[in-house]
Every structure is written in structure tokens, then in C-alpha cells.
Symmetry: C2
Subunit: 335 residues, 2 copies
């Protein structure tokens, strides 16, 4: 059967208290018994039971990660990077896809709380501020990544979505585009990118508002559908800024179907810089999110909070323009 601290104690000829102490590097133990215990521990291949020690107030070294959808390439990429960092710091992740549903989020939150996770990383679009506050009151570390930070002090790692939208749009403008459409989903990050888009237009003296439509889902289908709408309109744009890569792929598909060439007749710029941006032809110009750094930072915040009670920080990272083939200078119709 499972080897317990008693087995080690007996075999080493000491008490379980002593064993516990050497294992946790606590108290004063003579070098001799310490050696002895460590020796037996190895011999018996003893690994302390996490449940039992968690019961006595220790950590479980597992963190709950709530994420909208693990099958979405951006989030699976992010999750993988968080996982790597967690692993390095000695933590495991329980991952839960919430599909942006408050109901699922709440369910997972209470489920994982029962399982004594050491804290939560919320990548999900969380509606219910009270839930977060509840967690904080219960002294459960929570931090937020890649989504809006509520107006409460909480550890956060985000990118500057406003800047991202601003830069993407500015780049398009610098290529000579003036009629620029945007496709977003009605979630916080996208609304910020939209705000950046508007600001860029305004700052460049472009009065005419471009096409603005919300996708109901983040999917190729929705990107395609909305782009078709734009292309069918009286005043089709010469460029479209999609608030993520998936939508951008949809835009390119729509253009292809209409026989409109990208980037010659339509420039497309995405957001996230997921793997799919390099799959499509033409490859997608996009705003890259530094997922690796984000994963590292969020785990460091978490661990700082869990193990050292560090103070709260908000980390804002900058997205970065990655120019590929889907954007080009606008071809002036009137010269």
C-alpha cells in the first residue's frame, strides 16, 4: 500500500514529527537523524500526501485556470504558456473552459474552491464582480489575465488593448487607407480595441466612421459573414481590422469568395498572432500578444501572492505589430 510518514518514521527509528520536520526543513534536527530520515525516505520512495498536508493548512500547489475556450488557438496557446511557467514554479493547473458563461464560471469557482486550489487565474470574461470580491474576502488569491480588470485592486496581466487597436488602425492609415472597417466581439478587450480604432481615425482626421459590426462569436464564420456585409455595402472598405485572428481568417475567406484579392484590394489586419496567422495565404498581419511573457508574469504574481503575500500589481504589456502579407498600400482610385 501507500507509504506514509509512519512507515518512514518507524524504519528510521524516529517519530513522525521528526520526519515531518526534516521533510519541511523546519526546526532543528541533528545532521545524523536528518541524513537517516532522508535516506529512508528515498529508500521507501515516500512522497507526502498533498491532501493530508493541505488539511493542516498547507498549500495544494494547484491553481484553477478559468479560460473561455481551450479549443480557441489563442487561449490554448496562453494556457500552455501559463502551464509551463506553473510547472517551473511547482504548480499544477486545473483548467476549465467557461465559454464566456457566467453560469459555468460560478460552478467551476465553487467546485475548485472545495478542492482547495491555492488560487485562481481568470482569463475568462467574468461578469460577476461579487464573485471575485467574495474570493478575495475569503483570502483566496485571484488574478486576472487577458481580460478587463474590474475596478477593484487585483493582480492583473493584460495587454494594452486600446493601444493595440490604435496601432493596428494607425498602421492601416499609414498605408493610405481611409475607409477602414472593424469587426469585434462585444467583450471588453474588443471594445477597447474598438476605442483605439476610433481614436486613431480621429487623430488622423478621418471623419467618416468605418463599418462597425459585432460578431456574436469569435469564429471564422462570423468574420466571413460580417466581411461579406461590408463588401456588399455601398461603400466597401479598403481595409478591415478584425479584433482577432480567427475573425481575420474569415475576412480573408470572404474576400476570396468575392474574388477580391488580399491585400491588393482589401487589407486585413488581425489580433493575437496565433499560429493560424501563418497558415493562411496570404499570411495575416496581426497584433501579437506576448503570451509567453504573460504566462510567466501571471504565475509570478500568483506565487508571490500565495507564498509571500506580496502586494497587488497590475502589469500592462504592449502588443506588437507583426507585418505579414495581408496588408498593403491602398490603391487610389482617383489619382
Amino acid at each position: 500500500m501507500k507509504v506514509t510518514i509512519y512507515d518512514v518514521a518507524k524504519k528510521a527509528g524516529v517519530s513522525i514529527a521528526t520526519v515531518s520536520k526534516v521533510i519541511n526543513n523546519k526546526g532543528n534536527i541533528s545532521e545524523k537523524t536528518r541524513k537517516k530520515v532522508l535516506d529512508v525516505k528515498k529508500k521507501l520512495d515516500f512522497h507526502p500526501n498533498v491532501m493530508a498536508s493541505a488539511l493542516t493548512g498547507k498549500k495544494t500547489k494547484t491553481i484553477g485556470l478559468l479560460i473561455p475556450d481551450l479549443a480557441n488557438p489563442f487561449f490554448s496557446d496562453l494556457a500552455r504558456n501559463i502551464e509551463d511557467s506553473a510547472n517551473e514554479l511547482g504548480y499544477n493547473l486545473i483548467m476549465c473552459s467557461t465559454d464566456y458563461l457566467a453560469e459555468k464560471e460560478n460552478k467551476y469557482l465553487s467546485l475548485l474552491k472545495q478542492k482547495n486550489v491555492d488560487g485562481f487565474i481568470l482569463a475568462s470574461g467574468f461578469e460577476d464582480l461579487r464573485k471575485i470580491q467574495e474570493l478575495m474576502e475569503e483570502n483566496i488569491p485571484v488574478s486576472i489575465i487577458a481580460r478587463d480588470s474590474p475596478m477593484i485592486p487585483i493582480n492583473t496581466v493584460v495587454i494594452d488593448d486600446f493601444m493595440g487597436g490604435y496601432q493596428a488602425t494607425s498602421y492601416l492609415i499609414s498605408l493610405g487607407h481611409e475607409n477602414i472597417g472593424i469587426i469585434a466581439r462585444n467583450i471588453w478587450s474588443n471594445r477597447e480595441r474598438l476605442r483605439g480604432y476610433k481614436q486613431a481615425l480621429e487623430d488622423n482626421g478621418i471623419k467618416a466612421p468605418g463599418h462597425i459590426e459585432y460578431a456574436e462569436e469569435i469564429s471564422i464564420g462570423w468574420g466571413k459573414k460580417i466581411t461579406q456585409n461590408y463588401l456588399n455595402s455601398d461603400n466597401p472598405p479598403t481595409a478591415v481590422f478584425t479584433c482577432n485572428d480567427l475573425l481575420g481568417i474569415g475576412a480573408i475567406h470572404a474576400a476570396r469568395e468575392y474574388g477580391i484579392s488580399v491585400p491588393e484590394q482589401l487589407s486585413v489586419i488581425g489580433f493575437d498572432d496565433t499560429m493560424i496567422a501563418t497558415i493562411i495565404a496570404p499570411s495575416l498581419t496581426t497584433m501579437a500578444q506576448p503570451v509567453q511573457i504573460m504566462g510567466k508574469e501571471i504565475m509570478e504574481l500568483m506565487v508571490g501572492m500565495i507564498e509571500r503575500n506580496e502586494i497587488i500589481k497590475q502589469i500592462i504589456l504592449m502588443p506588437e505589430l507583426v507585418v505579414r502579407e495581408s496588408t498593403a498600400k491602398v490603391i487610389k482610385k482617383y489619382f
Copy 2:
């Protein structure tokens, strides 16, 4: 602070044993006290501590999922489907990416064992049979998905990779191709697909072995590189079967770079049917793995084993040909 079973007992005016019984639906409890307890439980928002009950031999309702790489679209898709099914059955998943490294696998295995997971799902390419056997001896449920089943009785959900390779190749042959290359990674599933490929060639009387090369990684880059090799050879193939979609994308990229049109001059067929198959142009013909069913089946096997000690099953699912745009009839050079 945290509300415990004692709080409920006190407030309900009963003993903790009674509370425990009504919560677990055990023993005989009068309707009156049952109501009372449930009432108080709700009022106090009591949720039993999973650690504590796990300590007494109950389940933790969490399962360890070891998977090669969460950022790989096939695996993230699979993981998401397992997660959904797990969720429905009341389980959570601790997910770990192993990168096909025995070292990581072993580490995670012992880590999660300490955390008292109820069992393991191994999607990873596990080298170390002894480790699996060890788990089974310790009576820890293990099952295997989407990878080779070792020669020991163990719950398994796999697709028939041999058939998949056979079908993919047969389809190409039915299109008139005779010079068919294959790109695989040297892992079990891919070797099986390769075996199917060879069998199909043989069964159709095609003597000349096509190009066969192993990719060192599952990546677009390797698919591209090897396809370039094939295309540069004396006897370039008219079709290439890549053992997964990522490699297939690479093949298409290589063709594009060489000015060879797909499918007119080169047919490409992939494997997995991940989202990326529909992103690329031309969209990728591929062998679909029924990930949703796989996720459901594997969780049912796990739960059957954990909760009902059911006997071991091996479930073999059939991959299915999904014809898209990357394959076409061969154009005969000599007519």
C-alpha cells in the same frame, strides 16, 4: 471563515455524522432531520471539503490528463472534448503537457499521484511501460487515448490508425495517383498510418515505394521541409499523405513556394481534421478523428473504472475521410 460540517451540525441541532449521512445520501435519516440539515446547509452555503473526504478514502473527482502539447490544435481540441465530458460527469482535469518527454511524464505522474487524482488519462506517447504497470498495481485507474496501447490490459480509446492510413492512401490511389509520398513522425500512431499506407500500395499493385521520410517534430516547418525534399527529387510524387494536418499545411506551403499548384499538380491529404484544415486555401482533405466521441468514451471508461470497477475495454473508432480541396485526380502525363 470556512464553514465546516460542524457548523452545519450545530446549527441544525444534530451530530456531524447525521450531516454527513444526509449529504452523502447514506443510512436512514428521517425526512424531518434531512430537510432541516439540507436547509441549514443551504443557508450556510456549506460545501464539503474535498481534501478531507479524500483523506478518508473518497474520491477527489479530479483526473490527471497527460497530453503531448496543449498548443497543438489536435490535442487542445481533444482536451476540450475530454474536459466537457468530464465536467458533465462531475470531474475536473489537471492538464499537463509532456512534449513527448518521458522525464516530464514521470514527473507529472508522481506529482499528481501525491495529489490523489482518481486516475490518469494518458494521451501522451508514453515510453515507460513499467510506470503504467506500477500505477495499475497501485490500483490507480489509467486509460489511454489516441496513442498506442501497450500489450497489457488497459482501458483504451483509439482510432484505427492503420485503417486511417490505408483509407487515405486508397483514396489517393482511387484518384489515379501512383507516386505517393508520405510524411510521418516517428511515433506509434504515425507508424501505423505508414503501415496502412504501405498496405494500400501493395494491395493496389503499386510496387514502387513512394518517398518516406520522418519529421522530427510535428510542425508546419517540417512538413514544408520534407515536401521540398520530395519535390526536389528525381521522381517527385503527385500526391503526399501527411500523417497530420500541421504537416499537411507545410506540404501546401512548400508547393506554393515552388509554384506547384495544389491540387492540380500535387494532392495533399492530412490527418486529424483540426480547425486549421479549413483555414488554409486550398482547404485540406484529411482523415477526421472523432474527438468528441473519443472524449466522451474515454471519460466513461474512466468513470466506470473509478466508480463501478467495471472491466477493461478497448474501444477502436474509425477515422473518416473528409474530402476538401487539396486532393484531385492525377493528371496523366502520357495519355
